[in-house]
Amino acid sequence: MIVSLNEAEGMATKAAWGAGRPWGLAQEAGRAVSGLESMRLPGAELLLGLLVATDGVPCEKLGPVSMQSECWQAEYPLCPVLVGAFIADMRMQSKEMVLGRVHAPLLLAPFGQTVSETSVISWSNCTISACDEGLHVQGAPNAQVAEQVLMGPCESITEITHHRRPGAVDIADEIWEALSAFAHRTYVPASEASRLKGAGAGLTDND
C-alpha cells in the first residue's frame, strides 16, 4: 500500500492508542513511525511487532522497574516509545543510558534525533548514529528484541546512510491491515440515531 507519511503517522498513532497506549504516548509512536518511514526504514512493521507483543500489557510493566538502577530493566522488554520519549524529554543530557532488553530498538532512533546534536544507539550487531537530517546505520537494524542497548550522545556523524525524504512510502498490505485492526478498536459503532444526531446533519441536506 502506497501511503503518505501523514497517513502513516495517523495510522501508527491510532494503532498504538488502540493497543492501549495513552494518547500522548501514541502520538509519540506515530511521530517515530513516520520519522523512520521517511528514511525508508521499517517503522510501521516494527511498531506492529511491538503492539502485538505487548497487547494488553499495562504501560507500567513496559518501563523501568527502577530509574535508579545502572541498567534499566522491565518485567517485559522495555517499550522503545516509552523510554525514547523519556530520553527525548530529558534532552539526553550527557549521560549514556544502559537499557536491558528492549523491543524494536530501531524505534529509539527518532527520539535520538530530537535530543542533542548527534547521538548513538547500539546493540549486539547494530550501531546507529542519529542527527536531525538522518541516520548512519551499520549492521541490521530490524531486531524485534535486543538484549542490551546503549544510547548516548556522540561527537559527530561521518556519513548519513538514511536521509529524511518527504513523499509517499510503501507499507506492505498485511502490515497496514494489521495496524488498521488495532486502530479499529478506537472507533465507535454507529446506530442510526447516533448517525443523525452525532453528525448533526438532519435529513434536509438537499435543495
Binding site: D89, Y187, S194
Partner: protein
C-alpha cells in the same frame, strides 16, 4: 492607507493593545468571527493578481448528459496547478451532503503540474470514488461538490431560453454547487504538505485547497452553461458577468472540521496571533487620515447593505444578523459625532464597540477597522503557517511544581471548572466506525465514551493537576511522565500554551452548552467564508469567493475589493 506608510505604530504600544487569550479564545467570540484582509482566500487572490497568474481551461470533454471531464490550468511564476473536474449525472436520490454519500454531482483533484491523459484516466478511476479511491503524491487536493438543484436548474433553464437568471434567486442561494469536503495534506494518498510547504504560493495555510475551490467556481459556471447549451441550442446565452460574480462556491461543513482547531494548537496560535497583531497595530495608530476614514466608512456602508444577502432560516443566527444590523446603525450614529478625531482614534472606536455592540458587531468592527490598513497588516498573512512538530517536544527537565504553575496560569479557566458536574462532561467526541469521521455523543446517554477522542483539553489538564499534586516537589517532569504516560498529552498542551498564547480554546468543549458551529465558524472565517448559515448546532453552510473576480477578470479588476461588494442597489445616491 497613506497614514499606514507614514505613521508606523509603536511596537510597545502594539504589544499593550493585543487582546488577551482570555478574551479572544472564548467560543462565543470565536463563533462571531468574520473574514478579514488576512483571510486565506483574499491572500490567495492578492498573490494571483500581483504575480499575474494565467488560468485557462485546457480540456472540456463533457457529453449531453453533463458527464465528462474538464481541466483548468493555473500557471504561476514557479509552478502550475491543474484542477481536474469529473462531472457526473447524479440521480437525485443519491444527492447528499453527508459524509456517508458515495456519489456526487462533481468530483475534483488539484494536480501538481500539468496532467497527462494517463493521469486523467488514472484519476477517473479514483477521484469520483473520493474516500474509497486512492490518489498519489502528484495530487494535492481531493474534493467533491453537489448542485444546489433549485438554483442550478433555474440558471440552466434561463440561459437555455436566452435570458439571464433572476438576481433575487441567485442571492437566495449564492452558489451553483457546494463542496462537501476539500481534502489535502496526505489524506487518501495525496501529497504530504511537506512536499510543497516551502513553495511561496503553497506554503501558507490551506493555500492549495482554496486555490482548488477558486477553480471549482469556474467549473460550476462552465457546467451550467454547458447544460443550458444542451437544452437550448443556439438560443442559449452565457451567464452575464455581473450576475456570475455574485456566485460563490457553497460549502457544507459538519463536525468533521470541528476538532481541527483543537488538534492544531500551533496553527491556531499563528492564525489568531496574525489577526490580533493586525488589530493591535491599527488600534495603536496615533491618528487616522481622511482617506482611511473614507475607506472605512465606505466598507461599513457596503457591509451594512450586504446584510440583505446574509439569509439564514436558523433562528439564532438570523437574530444575530438582525443584531448586527442594529450594531451597524449604532456605529453609524456614533460616527456622526467626532469619533475618529481623537488620539488613537481606532483604539477609541474599538473600546466604544466593546462597550456598545454585540459580539457579532464587535468582531465585524475589528474586521472593518483592519480593512483600510493593507499596507500595515497584509504582510502578516505570510506568518500564518505553523509546523505542529515544532510544538511537540516536551521539556522534561522542568520540575513538576513548575508545570503545575504553568497550568495554573494558562488553564485557570479549566481548573475553575467542576468536571464532576454532569453538564460539564455531557458530551464526548468520538470517531465513528462507519465513516471514520468525528462525531459528538452524549456521555450520560450513549455508549462509547471510553473511546473518546482527547479533545477535552481542559479536563485533561485538571486531571494532570490532580496527579501532579501527589508528586514530591522537585520531581523531574520526565520521571513523572515515565510513570504516568497518561498525562503526557496534557503536559504537552500546558507547555505549548506557555509558549503560544493563542493555542488553546478557553472553553470546555465537553460541556452541554458547547456549540460546535462556533469552532466551525472561526475556522471558516479565517478561510474567508461569508454568509454563515447554520443547519444545526453542528453543521453549517457557507459561501466561498462570492463576489470575487473570476480568473478571466483578474487583469482588469481589483483582486481584493470583494469581501463587502459594491452593488448598484447599495451604491450611494
Amino acid at each position: 492607507m497613506a497614514d499606514a506608510k507614514t505613521v508606523v505604530p509603536d511596537d510597545a504600544r502594539v504589544s499593550e493593545l493585543m487582546r488577551t487569550p482570555q478574551e479572544v479564545m472564548r467560543l462565543a467570540r470565536m463563533g462571531a468571527s468574520h473574514q478579514t484582509r488576512l483571510s486565506f482566500m483574499r491572500a490567495i487572490l492578492r498573490r494571483v493578481k500581483r504575480e499575474g497568474w494565467q488560468v485557462k481551461r485546457t480540456v472540456w470533454d463533457v457529453d449531453d448528459k453533463g458527464v465528462g471531464v474538464g481541466v483548468y490550468e493555473a500557471r504561476g511564476p514557479e509552478h502550475t496547478y491543474s484542477l481536474i473536474a469529473y462531472a457526473n449525472d447524479l440521480p437525485p436520490e443519491k444527492r447528499s451532503d453527508r459524509v456517508i454519500a458515495t456519489e456526487w454531482d462533481a468530483t475534483f483533484a488539484l494536480f501538481d503540474g500539468v496532467p497527462t491523459q494517463a493521469d486523467i484516466d488514472r484519476l477517473r478511476d479514483n477521484v469520483p470514488k473520493q474516500e474509497a479511491g486512492r490518489c498519489a503524491a502528484s495530487e494535492l487536493v481531493l474534493s467533491r461538490a453537489n448542485r444546489s438543484v433549485r438554483l442550478f436548474d433555474h440558471v440552466a433553464d434561463c440561459l437555455s431560453q436566452g435570458r439571464q437568471p433572476d438576481v433575487q434567486e441567485i442571492d437566495k442561494v449564492g452558489y451553483l454547487m457546494r463542496t462537501t469536503a476539500v481534502y489535502g495534506n496526505g489524506k487518501f494518498g495525496l501529497a504530504d504538505r511537506d512536499l510543497y510547504a516551502r513553495r511561496e504560493e503553497a506554503g501558507g495555510p490551506f493555500r492549495v485547497e482554496l486555490m482548488a475551490v477558486w477553480l471549482i467556481r469556474v467549473f460550476t459556471v462552465d457546467i451550467v452553461e454547458h447544460m443550458a447549451r444542451i437544452r437550448g441550442g443556439a438560443k442559449a446565452v452565457p451567464l452575464d458577468r455581473e450576475i456570475r460574480r455574485r456566485l460563490g462556491v457553497g460549502n457544507s461543513t459538519g463536525l468533521g472540521m470541528a476538532p481541527f482547531l483543537v488538534t492544531h494548537p500551533a496553527l491556531l496560535n499563528a492564525w489568531i496571533t496574525a489577526r490580533e497583531t493586525a488589530l493591535a497595530r491599527v488600534r495603536a495608530l496615533p491618528a487616522a487620515n481622511a482617506d482611511t476614514i473614507r475607506h472605512f466608512r465606505d466598507q461599513l456602508d457596503r457591509a451594512h447593505a450586504g446584510l440583505e444577502r446574509w439569509r439564514t432560516p436558523d433562528e439564532r443566527q438570523s437574530m444575530r444578523v438582525c443584531d448586527l444590523a442594529d450594531d451597524f446603525d449604532k456605529l453609524k450614529t456614533h460616527l456622526q459625532t467626532d469619533a475618529l478625531m481623537s488620539a488613537e482614534p481606532w483604539n477609541e472606536l474599538y473600546l466604544w464597540a466593546t462597550g456598545n455592540l454585540t459580539l457579532e458587531g464587535q468582531e465585524a468592527v475589528c474586521s472593518l477597522m483592519i480593512e483600510p490598513h493593507g499596507d500595515l497588516v497584509d504582510e502578516l498573512a505570510g506568518d500564518m503557517a505553523a509546523d505542529e512538530r515544532r510544538a511537540f517536544a516536551i521539556d522534561g527537565t522542568m520540575r513538576v511544581e513548575a508545570v503545575a504553575g504553568l497550568a495554573a496560569r494558562h488553564f485557570d479557566w479549566a481548573l475553575a471548572t467542576d468536571f464532576d458536574l454532569a453538564d460539564q462532561t455531557a458530551r464526548f467526541w468520538y470517531v465513528s466506525e462507519e465513516k471514520l469521521e468525528p462525531r459528538l455523543g452524549e456521555r450520560h446517554e450513549e455508549d462509547g465514551a471510553e473511546l473518546e477522542q482527547r479533545l477535552g483539553i481542559g479536563r485533561e489538564v485538571a486531571m494532570m493537576m490532580a496527579a501532579l499534586e501527589k508528586e514530591p516537589k522537585g520531581t523531574l517532569l520526565a520521571e513523572f511522565l515515565l510513570r504516568h504516560p497518561e498525562h503526557r498529552h496534557a503536559v504537552r498542551r500546558v507547555q505549548v500554551a506557555a509558549q503560544l498564547p493563542y493555542a488553546e480554546i478557553h472553553d470546555n468543549v465537553l460541556s452541554s452548552t458547547m456549540m460546535p458551529i462556533d469552532m466551525l465558524r472561526c475556522k471558516l472565517a479565517f478561510f474567508g467564508a461569508s454568509r454563515f448559515d447554520p443547519k444545526s448546532d453542528r453543521w453549517v453552510r457557507i459561501t466561498m469567493y462570492a463576489d470575487a473576480p473570476f480568473p478571466d477578470e483578474m487583469e482588469d479588476m481589483d483582486a481584493d475589493d470583494w469581501a463587502w461588494p459594491l452593488f448598484n442597489e447599495n451604491r450611494p445616491a
